[in-house]
Each structure stands twice: as structure tokens, then as C-alpha cells.
Amino acid sequence: MTPGTVIQEVQAPASAPAPTVAMCRHHFPLLRQWVNGKPLIYLDNAATSQKPQVVIDAMMRYYQEENSNIHRGVHFLSERATEAYEDVRRKVKVFVNAGHEREVIFVRGTTEGINLVAGTHGRTTVRAGDEILVSAMEHHSNIVPWQMLCEERQARLRVIPMNDRGELELEEYARLLNPRTKIVAITHVSNALGTINPVREMIAMAHERGIPVLVDGAQAVPHLAVDVRALDADFYAFSAHKMFGPTGVGILYGKTALLEAMPPYQGGGDMIRSVTFERTIYNDLPHKFEAGTPNIGGAIGLGAAIDYLQQVGINAVQSFEHELLAYATEQVQTIPGLRIIGTAVAKASVLSFVMEGIHPHDIGTILDHEGIAVRTGHHCAQPVMQRFGVPATARASFAFYNTKEEVDALVRALHKVIEVLS
């Protein structure tokens, strides 16, 4: 694909009326099952979302009818697979409003996207004494890659603090930005608290000082409309499996100028233009960052998930989930001794809580017995647990296929937790 080629844009979805959201539940075959003699209530969507039939079918069709390696053969199937794969790149471009499809890199998931940036952009720009700024609510995947880089480069990892509601302290953030800061890495939506961070404002603050910003969008893309250009994000990473697509594939968006300046992440096939034993010339974007045969079937599934999400309508999803979270927040507060961890004004789809005298692990087991799947533990965000002085939390996280009736069942089951353990 030569740069500048005009590509037919995927038609913008018509704004779906809200009632369609509640009618989508039957698209998810897994949700029809029973667990421990009760209908499954799946409230672990922040860990991974369920997949609609159209995503499962698209992947199956790919393996049944189109499976072939891409960017290699001249034969019919290879061209078809290549076209299908590159078509998903164009869908992603439209989905997050990237400037060009060369800015859309296929990776294994958010974690690999962040590691890619830390290992390439980070290693070429961070020197001894420099600083990398992350927030207090990051997932381990947006802490550890930077910590590893800091260790290698004798740089310093600094942390934007948050208040007791789980909101980042922007005045402190402004003070932390300084000439030694080489990159800011922040989450768009917190997986442990649900906080929606004001990333647009935070990016603007960093840009005033010429500092690039990476946004971890794993928890944002399934719940709210993301426009990377409106945010002016330099890098934006997310995973397909949290947005109703398959595991093992994700996206790193990066601005062209930054991506072009970065060395390759991994060496191998597809990322080269020519190889001799003396010298290798690297391929152009985006292929420079896609060494080896990628997860083609996964990418096809991601494409189907984007089509699906656009059909449902992300704005309709957002308003439905907002209402569901508000309802759940209100209802769980009727449980004696329950404390919500993460009470930011702007929140998405996550209800983290602790119960007095009851360990989250016991809550998880008893809820499971009622057919309710929640996550218990530290949610790969141990510093968040430390900040709130709890060893772990129980977390109910919602998707648009959840219902108020399921929230009611959760509340009944939480009463049962108290009954069993008292």
C-alpha cells in the first residue's frame, strides 16, 4: 500500500438507538450457560470480554476459507488473506481516528504495545538521569516495562499521585513535568478503579513541554469513543480481547514521525525490505514493527469486533453502561460494611469494593457459587491496593450485555456472603 492511496472509508455507523444495546445479549453464546446450577452472570469484563457470534464466525470462516500467509504469496488465498488483514488495519484507523493506516501497528496486546514503545522509543531517548512519568493507578503492564528501562538506563520512574477518590492530582502532575521527563505513560481508564482520566488535558500539559505521551487504552476502547487525534496521543495501545474480539491481538497506534524515528522492535520476516549478510534494510511503516507471521486470524476477529461495536454504537454503549454503573453503585451501598474503592466523578464500568471483615477471595468463591463471575485480588495493580491500604478488592466490571437484573442478583449474593461468613 503506497502512502497517500485513497482508501474507501468504512461507513460511519448510524447512531444506534439505546434500546438496541439491551437487545444484544443474545449475540453472545457463552452467556447462555449455567454455572453451579445458576445462570451465568459474567461481571469480569475488565479482565476479558465475551465474544459475539459474529466474531467467532469471522475467525472460523477465515480458517475454513481464507487461511494463508500474508504479504508473501502471489496465489489467490495469500492475496485474499493479505487483503482481509490490511482491511482490518483500515477499520482500526477509522475506529480510533488515526491519521493514516501506517500508524496502526498490530501487536499481541496492550502489554506488547507498551513494551514496544519502551524498548524502541524509550531506549533511544532515555538517558541516565532522565525521568519517566507514570500514574499511581497504572496496571503492572504500564509500570514494569518503564521500570526495566529505568534500570537499564539509570533513569528515574516518577509517579503522579491520586486522591482518595482515585483521581489523579493534576497540580502535582504539572509539578512533576520537567526538562528531564522523557515520556509520560498513563492509563485512559483504570482497570482497578474505573476512573476515566482527563488524558486530553494531561497530554496537552505534557506537549507544552515537548514530552510525548503513551496512553494505555485497554479499558477505554470497549466503553467509550476514542479519537487518538482529538486526544493528540503520541502512542495509544489497546487489546482486542477486552473489546469483544479474540485474545492474542492488539493495536499500538503511534504518530508517524515518532514511529519512523524508532528502531525496529523485533527482527524477522515482513519487517525487512532486503536482507544480505552484510546489511538489512528495514521495511516501511507499519511493517517495520511487525516481524514474523502475525496473528492473522486474531486480526480478522478484531475487525469483526469493531464492525460489531460500531453497529451497536459506542455512544449507546457508553450511556447504557453509565446508567448500569450508577444503578449498581447505588444498590451495593445498601450492603452493610461494603466500601467502594474508586469513587471518581468520571468512571467507567468498574465497581471495586471491599467488605468489612471479609476477604475478597471469600467473596469471590461465594459469588461463584451463585453463578456470578467477579475478579478478586490486586487486579495487576498492586500499587493501587497499597494506596488504598487494602490487600485486594472484589471487582464487578460491566459490559453492555449486563443487566439491572444481574446487578440485583449480585446484591442478593453479597447479602449471602455476609450470611455464610458471619
Binding site: H359, H361, D362, P391
Partner: protein
Amino acid sequence: MSSLRELYQEVILDHNRSPRNFRTMEDASRTVEGYNPLCGDHYTVYVKVEDGRIKDVSFTGAGCAISKASASVMSAMMKGKTLEEADVLYRSFHRLVKGEGAEGDAVGKLAAFAGVSEFPARVKCASLAWHTLHSALQEDAGGRVTTE
């Protein structure tokens, strides 16, 4: 509900509410930390050994009902045991929570933990303190045990 009651038996709930030997020990011969990174359960087990016999066991820390009750029952049962007897009890407990049957002392006093074998995700909770004590009793034990 029936299997839930098997897991959260009265004995377990009682030991969770009022754990025995839940204290630090200034003159312990060994102190080892046990940690389950999966759920954040974190205990310190103290043991005093004299003439090849466990004179005292205590623990501090925090975790779920299963892990705390298990630590409490263990501390009560291990007191007075020789190192050999402690080893036998440790192995017996393991067989019990893995659903492989138990023998000797374990059959009676530890019977409450048999229900754990029905909940594979909770076997680590029940075993944490036991692993930690076992490690404390090894000559070359490090200072920290994790379940991972």
C-alpha cells in the same frame, strides 16, 4: 449451598473469627513469611524448636477465611510435635486438601478442610501457612515463601 457449607464449615468460620496463636513471637527460632501473590494473602509464621520438638507456633498477617483458619488450626496442632511428626502431618494435610485422602491425626481435626478439595482455586489458600511452616522447619529455608 451444600458444598459452600462444606467449604465454610463452622470450625473454619470459628478459627477465622478468633484465630488461635495469632501473635508475634519474640524468641522464635525461625520466622518465615508466606505470601500468595494471587490474592494478597500474607502471613508470618513463627516457630520455636527445642530438642527436635516444636515448642511453640504462632502467626500474624492477613488473608481469606480459609487461609487464616488453616493457619490457626495448624498452629494449634503443631505444638508439641517432633519434627518427624510435623512432617507427617504436613504431608497428610496436603493429601487431604488435594482430595487424596488423609490418615492419622489429620482425619479428625483437619476434616473441616476436606471441603477445600472441591474448590481447586482455594487449595493454595489452605496450604499457605503449612508451606510457610514447612519451610521454616527446613535447615536451609529462606525468609519468604510464595505459593507461585
